[in-house]
């Protein structure tokens, strides 16, 4: 009755009943892979540095879990950030960060991989390294510690994490991870010191070993020079992609969680990249070029996934479903497949045309959820500045059609703090809501059940976008803008407004364009107790500001400064395939309010086709 395989398993078993949601910490889910110990020669602990229910919803981890476990003698195991209640027990009872598959200490792995999905996870990254019993600075870690390799969209500017990672994998991981494992195999056989493995990683495209580079700064704080410390380290690290989506590995037997997670459903990625070129959008730039998966392959994946999981819902994933070249055929086909299997379907980001109304009417029936428009800016002028291709005529005609078909709920997404934004643009947000309200009145005769939800997020300039040089609004300015919109919307009782926290957006902006000098600030922030910064109940702005002060780093230098075109940017070592000159041209066009067409209508010369096949 009281038997456990290991001392660590015993400690875990005794602890998890004392915490919320023990299912987060025990593994053993359907389709989780556990190989016999004697078949395993390399172990990778793969972490997503957020709660289990968030991390389990991350498709990237599920893909790489498959890629790594497809190698016969590699065991890839999952790790997520323990919630604060479990962390406290772990620290008291000396339970190190462990993997869910074999409940081994992360420190016993060969590689500790961390996927950094967004900026607000950086303190969790450090906290997890510490919980694993390792030094956070790479230079302080032992020869016996695992290599820490980071990746994920946030590492397109790896510098704020540069002193903590042994290496970064830039771009898509499907092809690069097997190459890393081959280098690891050779290195393990050689018995050479750790540095030799890191040197060998420089032979793999897309691998960035930050310890082989040194940054020098000018008096004014800008970067003077990036110097290589190892001559065979690459001058420029171009991201990796998979060129062919049909032959690329994709999970057909994903791990099915016991507890409900954020995206608890079957999911198939239909394409990567986006051709629209919205100037604020980092995903639209870093995931170029567009690569579609064939309808046949999509169907095959869905069939296998449903069979292997028993999921009751299917979702399709991409940056913009409506842009799939055969979207109508695909959706019709998948809807039939779902009907045959008693599976419901969710279709994000469809374009609102007559076809999609027909589809939504069918899949939602009488339970109509809201329609969503990503309008982004309150005037045509400003939408031209950010190159967002949506017109008010379209929004209004689609709304009218929706109301006629029995919809009552509309969601509108906007941003505040965009380049060149004026108060009139913000007032335009309320105008659009009012016009939609009036259309509803025309259709239904009264306001009745109408509900309009206006969501305003704060613009955060991101690296590798045309707006990467732009000074972000202050949090006071964000708050003023929120108030302005709020007061204009207040008289309309059917309109609900929500907006993002300005201080969180500010910190996100600071971290997004940070450099290596910020590493010590992160360590200080963790020391002061910052973690789960993306969670409102945990985010502590004052502690963060204290951390900047204690380490004499000025956050405004990163977020609120107009960066110069001629400056060396912290992320200049990293290439996305898109030329820096393209971003510069796009930024100039934004100033002039000129749009750039969707590149399906003609190449806009972003440069990605000189590196990859478009």
């Amino acid at each position: 009755m009281f038997e456990y395989k290991t001392e660590l398993e015993k400690k875990i078993a005794r602890s998890v009943m004392k915490v919320e949601k023990p299912a987060r910490y025990i593994g053993g889910e359907l389709n989780a892979i556990r190989k016999p110990d004697d078949e395993v020669s390399m172990r990778v602990a793969f972490a997503f540095p957020d709660m289990y229910e968030i991390g389990m919803s991350n498709l990237g981890i599920q893909i790489l879990y498959k890629v790594l476990n497809d190698i016969p003698d590699v065991q890839c195991e999952r790790v997520y950030a323990p919630d604060v209640d479990f962390e406290a027990i772990m620290r008291d009872d000396d339970i190190p960060l462990y993997t869910l598959e074999t409940k081994r200490a992360v420190q016993e792995s060969d590689i500790f991989a961390i996927s950094v999905g967004y900026e607000m996870l950086v303190t969790n990254v450090l906290n997890m390294i510490d919980l694993a019993g390792m030094e956070v600075y790479a230079k302080d870690r032992k020869e016996t510690d695992p290599f820490i390799i980071m990746g994920g969209p946030c590492t397109y500017n790896p510098e704020p994490l540069a002193e903590f990672a042994d290496a970064f994998s830039i771009g898509e991981g499907e092809e690069v991870w097997p190459e890393i494992m081959e280098k690891l195999r050779e290195w393990k056989a050689s018995g050479a010191p750790k540095i030799e493995f890191l040197k060998s990683l420089c032979e793999i495209e897309g691998m960035y070993v930050p310890g082989f580079y040194e940054f020098e700064y000018n008096e004014d704080g800008t970067i003077r020079e990036i110097r290589k410390l190892y001559d065979k380290a690459p001058d420029h690290i171009e991201k990796r992609i998979i060129q062919d989506m049909d032959s690329a590995p994709f999970p057909t037997e994903p791990v099915v969680p016991f507890m409900s997670t954020v995206h608890d459903r079957a999911v198939v990625e239909i394409f990567r990249g986006c051709t629209r070129g919205c100037r604020f959008c980092q995903a639209g730039m870093i995931y170029r070029p567009v690569r579609e998966r064939s309808m046949e392959k999509i169907r095959e994946i869905v069939e296998e996934q449903l069979k292997a999981t028993g999921y009751e819902e299917l979702s399709i994933l991409s940056l913009s479903t409506g842009d799939y070249s055969r979207v109508e055929d695909l959706v019709t086909d998948l809807m039939q497949l779902c009907r045959d299997n008693d599976v419901s379907m969710s279709l994000p980001s469809l374009r609102l045309d007559s076809f999609s109304f027909k589809v939504m009417d069918e899949i939602q029936g009488y339970k109509k959820s809201g329609l969503t428009f990503a309008v982004e800016a309150g005037s045509q002028r400003l939408r031209n500045v950010i190159n967002k291709d949506i017109t008010e005529e379209h929004i209004y005609s689609a709304s009218r059609q929706a109301f006629e078909l029995g919809w009552h709920s509309i969601k509108l997404y906007f941003m505040a703090g965009l380049p060149g934004e004026t108060d009139e643009d913000l007032a335009g947000i309320a105008d659009i809501a009012r016009n939609i309200m009036n259309i509803y009145k025309e259709v239904n005769g009264k306001i009745g059940r109408l509900s309009i939800h206006v969501s305003v997020s704060n613009f955060v300039p991101k690296p590798h976008t045309p707006f990467q040089w732009f000074p972000q609004d202050t949090d006071e300015e964000f708050s003023r803008k929120h108030e302005l919109v709020k007061n204009l919307i207040k008289p309309m009782k059917c309109v609900r407004l929500s907006y993002h926290d300005s201080q969180t957006s500010y910190l996100e902006g600071v971290l997004a364009r940070g450099d290596r000098r910020m590493c010590k600030t992160l360590v200080e922030a963790v020391r002061l107790g910052c973690k789960f910064d993306g969670w409102r109940e945990h985010f502590d702005y004052d502690k963060w500001m204290q951390a900047f002060e204690n380490t004499r780093v000025d956050p405004d230098f990163y977020a609120r400064r107009a960066w110069g075109y001629d400056e060396i940017l912290p992320w200049d070592l990293i290439g996305t395939g898109v030329d820096k000159e393209f971003y510069l041209r796009e930024n100039e066009k934004a100033h002039r309010g000129e749009i750039t067409k969707d590149c399906r209508e003609g190449c806009q010369m972003c440069g990605v086709n000189t590196v990859f096949i478009c």
Partner: protein, 234 residues
């Protein structure tokens, strides 16, 4: 066709909640291509229920769930299919066909067997627990206070009446309590409540002992008025 499946919940699966197990079963049934019957109405859900939810953290070798399929199937095949769809720690022991009554089998449950393991550093503690248990069984009534979920009022409950059998055996490294207690919607006793009372009587604290609770079997009243294990129900 309506099936009654007896199943076990062991190892780490004891940390999986009732609702999560429901979802696991629904997905397993779906994966194995068994088409379930759904309820009618605005939001249809599969006709399936787990008898007498087990507390989080308990293991069990005597769990039951029932569900209705659209097509008739061999119950042994159903058991095999579901068993092959389960994660480590959950096994499908047996499956039988039920007459399609309206009432859920879970509602017929009257009693349950439990094993409670107690481990202590100090062997003196074992003697104290044995004594407390003897005292308990000798009393005509032992009351505990329970806070009512809805009203928040405190209610006195006689737990002695709910304990039908209590045996104690010293095992290698732990003390084993075998219990038969009232279980079900009419009268129910969570073994943890009894344990708490014994602990209090023995003047021990929760920190002094490590406990494991396992459900062994559940019973219902048969047509003849005798209590029979649930798997005998037709």
């Amino acid at each position: 066709m309506k099936f009654l499946v007896k199943w076990t919940k062991e190892g780490d699966m004891r940390y999986i909640s009732h609702l999560d197990i429901m979802r696991l079963f629904q997905r397993a049934i779906k994966r194995k291509g068994i088409r379930m019957k759904y309820t009618e109405g605005y939001s249809p859900h599969p006709k399936m229920s787990i008898a007498q939810p087990l507390s989080l953290g308990y293991t069990s070798v005597g769990e039951y769930f029932e569900f209705e399929s659209l097509e008739d199937m061999d119950p042994e095949l159903v058991r095999e299919l579901l068993d092959s769809a389960m994660p480590e720690g959950i096994r499908m022991d047996s499956c039988s066909v039920l007459r399609e009554t309206k009432k859920a089998v879970g509602a017929l449950i009257t009693a349950g067997d439990y094993h409670v393991g107690i481990r202590m550093e100090d062997p003196e503690g074992y003697r104290k627990i044995r004594e407390a248990a003897r005292w308990f069984m000798e009393q005509p009534s032992v009351t505990v206070q329970k806070v009512q979920k809805k009203s928040g009022k405190i209610k006195e409950i006689d737990i002695r009446q709910k304990v039908r059998e209590l045996e104690i055996q010293q095992q290698e490294g732990y003390l084993l309590l075998s219990l038969k207690v009232d279980t079900g919607s009419q009268s129910n006793l969570n073994p943890e409540v009894l344990l708490e009372k014994l602990r209090e009587r023995a003047e021990l604290s929760g920190g002094d002992m490590e406990t494991m609770i396992e459900r062994v079997e559940m019973y219902a009243e048969s047509a003849e008025g005798t209590e029979i294990p649930l798997y005998f129900l037709k």
